[in-house]
């Protein structure tokens, strides 16, 4: 089992001594959402980092959202879904970005088994990531650290399935397959929602996740982030390593509205001045079983 690194075991000085909680979603109908966040665009280099623990002891084949972007009722323009699916042959993480429906999109999958078995611990297409599977490589509190790095491309250029990378516990995963179609479309200014544990397009309870979720960190522009912060990292892999090994970005990072940090310390508001507050729906709460 992987240790919890510097993250958990106070009373020693750790990177986030205030880390007592994580967000808790029951897998029935809980989720968190925020509207009016503008939009992540396919032309930018974007980065996500978070810790996630699935609490379901059995798995179904439903798409289980971790993070998503969508205009309400519109899954066509600047629609992003990051999710896990546990179905036979589809035991995989998925990143999908649609700039104009499925005609203009990119999708990348990472099977947990096969080439990624040594990273995730999953041994087969039916060896799913859930709370009862002791094969999965989690930390002492049952969490996995995931990071996604998306490289933008110009409007009018084809989308590329290789433009996004996924890191599991700091290790770069091998992309299993991808699907691309059309070109990147400029949708102009759109008023999107971001959802955690929910498809923000339709708020379907079929796609909620039974999970704990901790320390979301999002970087809209990697080049600016690296130049402004005393983060001690010059490339994507190093940033992932720092986040994974320390558990959170504090200590060296400058509070700045250009990146988003959510610690879920009994609060749905970001902690670094980015300026968003998630709305917790249907009883989403906090747990002391943090990452």
């Amino acid at each position: 089992m992987i240790s919890v690194f510097a993250r958990n075991y106070g009373p020693v000085t750790i990177c986030d001594p205030n880390n007592f909680y994580a967000a808790s979603f029951d897998g029935v109908d809980d989720y968190a959402i925020v509207s009016g966040v503008g939009s992540i665009k396919a032309t930018t280099d974007y980065f996500w980092s978070y810790w996630i623990k699935y609490n379901n002891t059995t798995s179904d084949g439903n798409l289980r959202w971790q993070w998503g972007q969508s205009i309400s009722g519109n899954n066509q323009e600047d629609f992003i879904r990051i999710l896990y699916q546990a179905a036979t042959g589809n035991n995989r993480i998925e990143f999908n970005y649609r700039t104009s429906g499925t005609a203009n999109q990119m999708t990348t999958y990472w099977n947990l088994y096969g080439a990624n078995s040594s990273i995730t611990g999953s041994t087969s297409s039916t060896d799913y990531w859930n709370a009862s599977n002791t094969n999965i490589n989690v930390n002492a509190n049952g969490y996995v650290h995931l990071a996604f790095a998306y490289s933008g491309a110009a409007v009018g250029q084809p989308s590329s399935a290789s433009s996004v990378r996924c890191y599991w516990n700091g290790q770069l995963m091998t992309a299993t397959a991808g699907a691309t179609s059309g070109n990147i479309i400029n949708n102009g200014v759109t008023n999107n929602q971001w959802g955690i544990g929910i498809n923000p397009y339709n708020l379907s309870t079929s796609n909620v996740s039974n999970m704990y979720f901790d320390s979301l960190f999002m970087i809209p522009d990697m080049a600016v982030f690296k130049s402004v912060n005393g983060f001690g990292a010059s490339n994507e892999a190093q940033i992932v390593q720092i986040l994974y090994n320390n558990g959170c970005p504090t200590g060296g990072i400058v509070n700045d509205a250009r990146w988003l940090e959510m610690e879920f310390e009994n609060s749905w508001t970001d902690s670094n001045g980015y300026g968003i507050t998630l709305t917790a729906a249907n009883g989403a709460t906090f747990t002391s079983n943090h990452a």
């Binding site: 958990n8 990177c15 001594p17 808790s24 002492a140 200590g251 009994n266 943090h290």
Partner: protein, 79 residues
Amino acid sequence: METTYLIISTENAQTMNFAGLEQTFESCRKSVDESMCLISYKGPMPNDTFDGVTIINTMDIQECLTVMQTSEWFIANEE
């Protein structure tokens, strides 16, 4: 179901395993002197003891947040 936050004594807590606990003893957050452990719990309000473990405090999250900022639990980052 409502989440309740418990502070339990770490004495005799190594084998605690009552239903509704969200952590094991090994992974729960310890106080500075390691005499207490914070856990969250989903279930009926517990009594003073559970599975031989002494429950020191039962809190909702607002009270818990206040308690966690006290010096018994919180060490400010020196950086």
